[in-house]
Assembly symmetry: C2
Homo-oligomer: 545 residues x 2
C-alpha cells in the first residue's frame, strides 16, 4: 500500500486556491499509483479560520470543497481535514473532522475529540468534541483517523483532557494511524512533536503518518516537518520544514522500520527560517510585494531588514534613515552600510523640521513645562508618520522592528516605533535578537559589526542608553521569560534568586503596558508564549501593577 | 430567612479592594440579621481575569481572599464566586465555582458546568466543567447554587450545551436557587436575562436570587440589574443598572410573589448609561482622571465629549480643535460651541505648519506623485500626534472617537483618528450615534444642532463628504449589522434585497480592513458583536476579500 503525504501551504478562506493545490497533488499521486493521499487539518479552508466558522456561507464553501475533492477520489482515497456540521441541535454547531474520501464519495468522517483551547487556540469556541470513534476499512487495511491534538494526550504528567482517543480505537485493531494536523511552530515544538509521536508508537506499536500544515497565517507559522514513524519507534521520515513537500511511502517499508532519519534542530536557525516564511506569507497572501522600515543603525532594525530582504528580495525592501539632532554619526553610517550590504534602496530623511513644527505648534500649550517623554515621543512618532506616509504613497507594508523585551516593558512609543503592519521580532527577547544577528553574520558581515557591538540606545535624548532605564538585558530577559513563558509570579521569581525590587519593578512595567501591546501589530510567533492572541491579559487590572 | 444581594463593582486583580468592599457589605448585612449574603461570579479576583488565571500566585491570592471572607462567615452565610483548584491532574487546572461559606469555613463548593466559550468569553480556556451537582443545607433550607451560564441552557432552540445543571439538582428538592453571575451588558441583554430567569422559574417553580456584577472591566461593561424572581414568575425585584446596590429580601415574601417590578429598558438610554460607566471605570481603575480628545465639529467627537464630561466631570475633559486648510468655518464654530456648552477647556491648534513640514520633508520622495490618501492621512496623523503629545505631557488619556460603521469599512486613519486609549463609540453604528446625540439633546441643546444636521465629512480634502465614498448610513449600517452581528454571508444579504455589487463591496471593505482594527483601542461593548476580543478574524484571509 502506497501512502502519500502532501504538506501544503494553504490560505485561509481561499477555497479555490487551496482546492487547486490539492488537485495537483492528487493528480501526481494518481500517476504514481498511490492508494491514499493525506492532507492536513482544516485544509479546505485553512487553519485557523477563526470566526469565519460562524458564517454558514463559509461552511457551505468548505462542504463544496469536500464534494469537489470527493469527485476526484477515484482509484485513490483522500484523507483531509475540514469542518463537519453537527447534525443534532445540542452542542456546538460544528466538528473539526478528518474525512475519508473514496469511490467518489465521503466514506467516513472522524471528528476531533480533544479541542485545544489555550494559548493561541480557540477550538472549543467553534467545535463540539467527538464522542464516537470508528476505524476505516480500505483495501484490506484498518485505518485509525485522528485530528492533531487527539494524539497529544499521552503520558502527560498534567493532562489537559480526560480521555485519549486512540485508546478508544485500539480495540478495533487498526493497522496504522493517520493524523491530520495544523501544528504551529515554536522553537521547541518540532522536538516535542517527535517525542509525542514516538510515545504513541511505543504504546500502540503501529505506524503513524502525521501530516502537518506548512505556511504562515498572520502570526502563526506552521512549520511542516510531517512525520512517518515506524512501529519500532524509528523516524522513517521527517519531511522538510518551512516548505511545501510531497512524498510517497510504502506501508510495508514503514512497518519494517529499517531506516531512521532525523534532522538537526538548531534554535536560532529554526527561528530564522520561520521568520523568513512568516514575512513571505504575510505579504504574499495579502497580495503585497514591498516592505518599508526605519533603519536606526541599531540591531533590531538591522535584523528585521535582513529577514525582509531574504523573504521578499532586496529590491522589495526600502529603508528610511531618519536622523534627529540626537542621532550619533555611527547610527547613520551603520544603517547606510547595512543597506549597502543588502543592496536595498534607502533614503535619508532628517526629522528636525518636523520636530520643530510640532514644538512651535505646541509652544503655547507646553509653555513652562520641562522636556520629557512627550518630546521624546514626538521624535519617534515623526518617524512613524514618515514611514506610514511612504507606505501609503507607494504601497509598501511597514515592518515593525520592536523586540519582545522592549514590548514587554513598554520601552517603545505607541504610534511611533510601535507602528507597522507586522511585528517581525516581537517574539524575540533582545538577547535572542543578538544571537540571530550573529547567525546572520556567520558566513561574513551582513549586519555591520558596530551595530552588534555598540550599546543599544533609543537616541531620543543626548547620550541616552537602554541601560539608563533598564537592567542589563541578560537579567531582564530571564525575568521576562520566567514571567511570560513560565507564568512565574513574584514570589517564585524572588525564590529563584532575582532581586525583589527589580522583579516587582519589571512585573509592574509589563502589566501597566498592556494597553500599548493591545494596539501592536500581529507578532510572528516563535516561542511558547508570544504577545498577541496567545496571551490575553486585562488592560484594567490591578494585579502586580 | 433574610437574603442579601450585594451588587458590587470589583476590579480585576485588586484583591484588597475587592475584599474590603465585601467586608463592608457583610458588616452591614450582619447589622440587619441577614442569613445569607450573596456576591457575584469570580468576585474575589474580578471578572474576567483572563490569563492571570494561569499564575499560581494569582490563584493563591483568590484562595486567600476566600479564607479571609470565610473567617467573617459567623452568624451569616456567604455565597461568592471564586476559582477553585481541580484536585485531579486530568483536565483543566481550575473550576469556576460558587463557594458557600458558613461557621467560619468553606461548607460547600459548586463548580460551573456550562463554560461560555464564544464571543467575548473564553472560559474553557481556563476551567474544567463540573460533573457533580449537590445542594446546600442551611438553617433548614435546601439551596441550589449555580454559576451564571448554568441557568442559561433552558428552552433554547439551538442549545450550546448538552446538559442542564438545575435538572441535575432538582431531584434533591432545593427550596430556592442562588445564581452568581458576571453577565456583561449588551443593549438587549437585560431583557434576555429576565426571560431566561422566568423560564427557569416557570420550569422549577422555586425562587431565584440572581446576583450580577456591576462595573466596567476594560471593554466589558457589567450592568448589574440583579434579579429576584418569585415562584409565580413575578419579578420580585430588579436592582438598579450601572451602579452598586445592596438589598435585603425576606424569602417568605419572595415566595409569596405579591409584588412585580420591572424597569423600563430603552435602548439608547441603556447605551448612554453603559458608556458613561465604561469611561468612568476605565479611568478610575487605571488611576487616571483626565481625558483629552479631538473636537472636529462632527457628531462622533461631540457625543464622545459629552459622555466623557458626564463620566469624568467637565473640568477633566480637554478638547483640541485642530483645523486644516480643508476645515470649514462651521467645524471650528460647532466644536467651540460644544466645548462652551459643556464647560470644557479647549485649545485651537491649526495643523497647517506641521502638514507643511511633512510635505517639504518628503518633497523629494513624493516628487511627481499625485495627492492621494497619503496626504490625507498626514493630516489625520498630525492630529493624532498633537493629541498624544498633549496626553504624554499632561497625563490625559486620549479618547478615540471612531464609530462602528467607519471602523467596519476602514474609513479612518491608523495612527491618526484611530489613536486613543479607549474607543467610546466603536460599537455604535453611525445611525446609533445620531440617536444618541438626539437623546443627549432631549432636554435642550448640548450638542450644537448644526453638528447633528450637517452631512458627515472627514474634511481631509476640499468639500469631502462621507457620502462621496460610502453608501448612505441607513443602508451601510443595515448591511454591516447583518454581516457583523448576524453573520449573514453575501448570498443571504442579497436574498434580503440588498444590491449585490454593494454587498460585495462592503463585505470586502470590512475584511481587508481587519489589519486596522487589530491595532485599535479596546472598544466599549454595547452590542452582541463588538469589534475586539469578541470578534476574532484572520488578517491574512482571502474570504470575501
Amino acid at each position: 500500500m502506497k501512502i502519500a503525504i502532501a504538506q501544503l501551504n494553504y490560505h485561509i478562506g481561499n477555497f479555490e486556491g487551496n482546492v487547486n493545490k490539492m488537485k495537483l497533488a492528487i493528480e501526481k499521486a494518481k500517476r504514481d499509483s498511490v492508494d491514499i493521499i493525506c492532507f492536513s487539518e482544516l485544509a479546505t479552508c485553512g487553519y485557523p479560520p477563526r470566526d469565519f466558522l460562524e458564517f454558514k456561507d463559509f461552511i457551505g464553501l468548505c462542504e463544496k470543497a469536500i464534494t469537489d475533492l470527493a469527485a476526484l477520489a477515484q482509484d485513490i482515497a483522500i484523507v483531509i481535514g475540514s469542518p463537519a456540521v453537527n447534525p443534532v441541535p445540542e452542542g456546538k454547531d460544528l466538528f473539526n473532522s478528518a474525512y475519508f474520501l473514496a469511490d467518489g464519495k465521503i466514506q467516513y468522517v472522524q471528528h476531533k475529540a480533544l479541542l485545544p483551547t489555550y494559548d493561541v487556540f480557540d477550538e472549543y469556541r467553534y467545535f463540539e468534541p467527538a464522542s464516537k470513534f470508528e476505524i476505516v476499512n480500505y483495501k484490506g487495511k484498518k485505518i485509525a483517523l485522528s485530528v492533531c491534538e487527539d494524539i497529544w494526550n499521552i503520558g502527560n504528567e498534567n493532562p489537559l483532557y480526560t480521555i485519549c482517543p486512540l485508546d478508544e480505537m485500539m480495540p478495533m485493531k487498526p493497522d496504522f494511524v493517520i493524523n491530520v494536523s495544523a501544528s504551529p511552530f515554536t522553537f521547541t515544538h518540532a522536538q516535542n512533536r517527535i517525542d509525542v509521536l514516538k510515545a504513541n508508537v511505543s504504546k500502540y506499536k503501529i505506524p503513524i503518518f502525521y501530516v502537518n500544515h506548512v505556511g504562515a497565517q498572520t502570526e502563526l507559522i506552521f512549520d511542516g516537518g510531517s512525520l512517518v514513524i515506524s512501529p519500532n519507534g524509528n523516524i522513517f521520515d521527517e519531511m522538510p520544514y518551512f516548505e511545501e513537500s510531497f512524498k510517497i511511502y510504502k506501508l510495508e517499508e514503514v512497518s519494517e522500520g529499517k531506516q531512521s532519519k532525523e534532522q538537526e534542530k538548531e534554535k536560532i536557525k529554526l527561528i530564522h527560517d520561520a521568520l523568513v516564511l512568516g514575512i513571505k506569507d504575510y505579504f504574499g497572501k495579502l497580495g503585497f510585494t514591498k516592505a518599508i522600515l526605519g533603519l536606526s543603525g541599531g540591531i533590531d532594525s538591522a535584523v528585521t531588514a535582513v529577514l525582509a530582504a531574504r523573504a521578499l528580495g532586496e529590491d522589495n525592501v526600502r529603508g528610511l534613515l531618519m536622523p534627529s539632532q540626537y542621532s550619533s554619526d555611527h547610527s547613520v553610517n551603520d544603517a547606510r552600510q547595512l543597506a549597502k550590504n543588502l543592496g536595498c534602496q534607502y533614503d535619508i530623511i532628517p526629522i528636525e523640521n518636523i520636530y520643530q513644527s510640532f514644538a512651535s505648534t505646541l509652544e503655547q500649550q507646553f509653555l513652562g513645562t520641562k522636556a520629557d517623554v512627550a518630546e521624546e515621543n514626538i521624535q519617534a512618532r515623526a518617524r512613524g508618520m514618515l514611514l506610514m506616509a511612504m507606505s501609503n504613497k507607494f504601497g509598501n507594508i511597514l515592518l515593525n522592528t520592536s523586540n519582545k523585551s522592549e514590548m514587554a516593558v513598554g520601552y517603545g512609543t505607541l504610534y511611533g516605533d510601535m507602528c507597522g503592519g507586522l511585528s517581525v521580532l516581537g517574539d524575540l527577547y533582545k538577547m535572542e535578537v543578538f544571537a540571530l544577528a550573529e547567525y546572520i553574520n556567520k558566513d561574513g558581515e551582513v549586519i555591520p559589526q558596530n551595530t552588534i557591538s555598540k550599546p543599544p540606545s533609543a537616541e531620543l535624548r543626548p547620550d541616552q542608553k537602554d541601560s539608563d532605564s533598564l537592567p542589563p538585558y541578560e537579567i531582564l530577559d530571564e525575568i521576562l521569560f520566567q514571567y511570560i513563558e513560565n507564568r512565574k509570579g513574584p514570589a517564585e521569581l524572588i525564590a529563584m534568586g532575582h532581586d525583589e525590587k527589580l522583579v516587582k519593578r519589571i512585573l509592574r512595567m509589563v502589566n501597566i503596558n498592556e494597553f500599548k501591546r493591545y494596539q501592536t501589530a500581529p507578532v510572528l510567533r516563535v516561542s511558547t508564549k508570544a504577545f498577541g492572541m496567545g496571551r490575553r491579559m486585562p488592560i484594567v487590572g490591578k494585579y502586580l501593577s
